[in-house]
């Protein structure tokens, strides 16, 4: 079905339909006798008219033009594309989880509240924090929520001048964006030659205007921030708080905890570390955890246990308020909860160990062919800096596109920004050594092709549904929807 190239609108034919509803059993009334005709539309919404089989074949065919974790190896750095267990999908789809209304009386949703309460405890245990809110919808939303909490903390102390957040230049792009959206000014600090926080540079920017520092550990280079205790002490002495970006938490479960490192506010990505699927761009889930004295600022409502009943607590005067409708992505929380129980405490630790083993294994095999700027033990991921001996000027993008021809999803490229031509590889623990070996072989083969036949890389991919796409044309000649009148 490589050639399937129809839009659903092109299949539409007047009079076809894919739905059925029972006849309206409350009598024949004219709509305009119920609602004034000035409020009613004169036309019909221009949606497709297709049969049920058309719908099924169309979306099935489109799905085959996609590459998912179920298709193959997905070493996309910073994204933790681990296997998404099927049983978790079944559990989230149980009718008494998926077909419950968020505003039902508490006595009819005790199971849902219990699950949220327990997931809060589990995530708190894993991170070493006091409490966790499940309300944020994604990682970036978690960052924003955490930063709001940091601001609320300072304001509550009567300290209103702390309007700056420190972000290392190695940070995820959402960090500074979240800080900007939370109304902070951003102070960027340059990393040292190993991509770690430069203590002298940090000291130079600390002041009584600093609200906090955002950090991910392991860093975006996949390296553990060894001075983390000193960093925490410095920031705390200056009156600031430490924010932990949990994108890289898959390296440290059961091994070290952000709470013990001195972090005050953290977020996790359930869609990375806790195996919930990425959905082609969401839904994610970005729970936020805090130390004890910050619990009062968490979004409302929290789930509490009172007299063996679970209740929603809205009576929290210091709360930052709501950051989202209802209580967050409950359906995603169900999957993460099921995952954690499937693994158990020791299983989670083992997952982190194997993730780190897999990353180091690939790194050691590839460093003879690609430039490895930081040659030391890595955590769950590592960053290469383009090809070694690259006299034909084959780019990182070319390497990535050639990987498509060999049936792999490429690693994250050109990130982190502090490494030129970055190739960021995160295998995760759910891949076997055989899968890693095949990938390594292909990466080596590509490095050979770069010497012998660079054109094949520069014009890659060759075997995909579509080949390199003209992005300039897409941006210049904007076509953002199908237009019947232009066909």
């Amino acid at each position: 079905m490589k050639d399937y190239n129809s839009l659903i609108f092109e299949l539409s034919k007047e009079g076809r339909k894919a739905y059925s509803l029972p006849p309206c059993d409350v009598g024949e009334t004219r709509l305009d006798s119920l609602i004034p005709s000035s409020f009613l539309r004169d036309d019909e919404v221009d949606l497709p008219e297709v049969s049920e089989v058309d719908v099924v074949r169309h979306f099935t065919n489109l799905s085959t033009k996609n590459y998912g974790v179920d298709t193959g190896f997905y070493p996309l750095g910073s994204c933790t594309m681990k296997y998404n267990p099927k049983i978790n999908e079944d559990m989230a789809a149980l009718s008494r989880f998926s077909d419950i209304h968020p505003l039902q009386p508490e006595e009819t949703v005790q199971g849902a509240l219990e699950l949220m309460f327990n997931l809060d405890s589990m995530l708190s245990e894993i991170t070493g924090m006091e409490r966790v809110t499940l309300q944020p919808a994604a990682g970036a939303h978690g960052e924003l929520t955490g930063l709001m909490i940091i601001k609320a903390y300072h304001e509550n102390r009567g300290d209103k001048k702390r309007n700056k957040i420190i972000v290392p230049d190695s940070a995820h792009g959402t960090n500074p964006a979240s800080a900007a959206v939370a109304g902070f000014e951003i102070i960027e600090i340059e990393s040292d030659k190993n991509g770690a926080v430069d203590l002298e540079k940090l000291k130079a920017v600390l002041s009584d205007e600093i609200a906090g520092l955002m950090l991910t550990n392991p860093s975006t280079l996949g390296l553990f921030e060894q001075n983390i205790k000193q960093i925490a002490d410095l920031v705390h002495e200056a009156g600031g708080l430490l924010y932990y970006d949990g994108a890289n938490a898959n390296a440290i479960m059961g091994i070290a905890r952000p709470g013990d490192m001195g972090f005050d506010v953290i977020h996790l990505n359930l869609h990375k570390t806790f195996s919930t699927p990425h959905g082609g761009g969401g839904p994610g889930s970005g729970p936020v955890g805090v130390r004890k004295d910050l619990v009062q600022f968490l979004p409302i409502p929290t789930v509490e246990k009172k007299d063996a009943k679970y209740v929603l607590d809205y009576d929290r005067p210091h709360s930052i308020g709501k950051v989202k409708s209802f209580y967050g992505h409950f359906g995603v929380a169900v999957k993460a909860y099921a995952y954690i129980l499937s693994m158990g405490g020791d299983g989670l630790k083992n997952a982190s160990q194997e993730a780190v083993l897999n990353a180091n294994y690939i790194m050691n095999k590839l460093k003879k062919y690609y430039y490895l700027p930081m040659d030391q033990v890595c955590k769950h991921e590592f960053v290469l800096s383009g090809l070694l001996d690259n006299e034909n000027h084959v780019s990182t993008l070319d390497v990535a596109k050639r990987l498509l021809d060999y049936g792999y999803h490429p690693p994250t490229i050109y990130f982190p920004l502090i490494v030129s031509d970055a190739i960021m590889i995160e295998p995760t623990e759910t891949e076997s050594v055989e899968t890693l070996d095949s990938f390594i072989d292909v990466m080596i083969k590509i490095s050979e092709e770069a010497k012998e036949n660079p054109e094949i890389l520069k014009t890659a991919p060759h075997d995909t549904n579509v080949r390199r796409i003209d992005e300039v044309k897409a941006a210049r000649n904007l076509i953002l929807k199908w237009d019947k009148n232009k066909q």
Binding site: N5, A137, A177, E188, M343, V433
Partner: protein, 446 residues
């Protein structure tokens, strides 16, 4: 070994060997000893699949679903019928196990779906352009308000008190940290007070936010609101129920600048409040202020039609320090579900769902107000929700209904203390005459 971790002990040994490490421990030497967790995580498990499944089913059985109860509850999450094919197609794992489509050559499925989703949201709202989805209706509304602030370069927004209370709460949380003032305009008889709106909309107001049909299900008269807003050069933002657009005039017909809303009712299960999707659509004038991902059509090097993320200059990873939105992950899978739903219902189906919901809601209102025990709280044209009032407290009514396995309405006094005993009921196309008659009969004797 665990079923999700394929490496065997022998594999491990061989891999460590090739790295030149003696044990896994050697790979963690960089974590200072004093930071190492000295205990085992206190977490239950590991559970086998069978144990897990039993545990989860037990837990879920402490909930009552809308299959156990007959649902007349709305207020932002709606029990519309979801055709069987929606879930079957959304569960194609090539869709749900994929990442964001950053590698377009192997993501044409996701990209084309978003393109089709964009087309259908534009048809529904009448707007020029939309993005690939936002977290939910409330955060979509916040993003629209920020667009208004950015484009009008003013520092306050007006929101009607007939907008969903959760949406107003989320708006206030965000705006508090951006130093944007949120001014609420009162209602009169269940709709936005036009006179008060007129007096509030001044040179500091960037945008006006109106929900239509509003939180009480009432259809607001947008004509006058549009005149007031645009005469002040403010941005008009409409928060809408996408199903209502099957029969109601589109926001574009009223001259609305930004349309946002909660897309849950487009085929997404209620799932105790999420994940849903927010949609945000606007006109070409404001297009470049729109946050989030957008898919555009182009060609590949062979001239074949292909889709790709575009207008990326607005994205947070490029404008790191000047970002006005930080959204990255959105609700891809929920937007896919919405696209499949809109395709399945099509031109006729979306209209029929809206029409049946409206007719059944009006039938229910007539049955419930027949004897005079319950009165319409506001006598105004409504869509699928309406508010009743009586001498009985809403919690008592709901408790009584629950005895008969009926999920009653939303007690309005929680958010509107002045509307004591107000009860907001919702009727979708799923309800039958028999269920509505039963509701009326039970409520009559509480």
């Amino acid at each position: 070994m665990h079923r999700y971790i394929p490496n065997t002990e022998a594999d491990e040994k061989q891999m460590l060997n090739s790295i030149g490490a003696k044990s896994i421990e050697d790979l963690f030497v960089d974590i200072p000893k004093n930071l190492r967790l000295e205990k085992n995580l206190n977490i239950h498990g590991p559970l086998s699949e069978l144990e897990l499944s039993n545990h989860m089913k037990n837990l879920s059985n402490s909930n009552k679903s809308v299959d156990d109860l007959v649902c007349f509850l709305g207020a932002g999450a709606y029990d519309h019928y979801i055709p069987s094919i929606v879930k079957h197609l959304a569960m194609r794992s090539e869709f749900y196990t994929a990442y964001t489509p950053y590698q377009p050559e192997i993501s044409q499925g996701t990209l084309q779906v978003i393109f089709e989703y964009q087309t259908m949201i534009c048809s529904l709202t009448g707007m020029d352009v939309t993005n690939a989805s936002m977290y939910d209706g409330a955060t979509a509304c916040v993003e629209a308000a920020i667009m208004a602030v950015e484009s009008a370069r003013r520092d306050s927004v007006v929101v009607s008190s007939t907008v969903h209370p959760d949406v107003r709460k989320v708006l206030k949380s965000y705006m508090r940290f951006r130093d944007v003032e949120v001014i609420e305009v009162d209602m009169t008889d269940g709709v936005t007070d036009i006179e008060k709106l007129k007096s509030l909309v001044g040179s500091n107001i960037a945008g006006v936010i109106i929900q239509n049909p509003n939180f009480f299900g009432i259809i607001e008269d947008m004509t006058e609101i549009e005149k007031i807003t645009h005469a002040n050069k403010s941005v008009l933002i409409n928060y809408v129920d996408p199903i209502s657009l099957g029969i109601l005039k589109s926001p574009a017909d009223y001259g609305v600048d930004i349309v946002v809303g909660e897309g849950q009712s487009l085929g997404n299960s209620m799932s105790f409040g999420g994940p849903y999707l927010g949609f945000l659509a606007t006109n070409s004038k404001l297009m470049r202020k729109m946050p989030g991902r957008i898919v555009g059509q182009s060609d590949d090097v062979d001239g074949k039609r292909a889709f790709v993320l575009t207008l990326q200059a607005r994205e947070q990873h490029i404008r790191r320090y000047k970002a006005t939105s930080n959204i990255c992950s959105n609700q891809g899978l929920n937007a896919l579900i919405a696209a499949i739903y809109m395709t399945t219902m099509g031109k006729k189906g979306i209209k029929e769902v809206a029409e049946q919901s409206a007719k059944k809601a009006h039938y229910a209102m007539n049955q419930l107000t027949k004897t005079g025990k319950f009165k319409l709280l506001f006598d105004k044209p409504f869509f699928k929700e309406f508010a009743l009032t009586s001498s009985v407290e809403s919690t008592r009514i709901n408790k009584g209904l629950l005895h008969h396995n009926i999920l009653g309405g939303y007690g309005l006094d929680k958010d509107y203390p002045e509307l004591k005993n107000g009860l907001l009921l919702c009727v979708t196309e799923k309800r039958t005459k028999e269920q509505i008659d039963k509701l009326a009969q039970v409520m009559e004797v509480i």
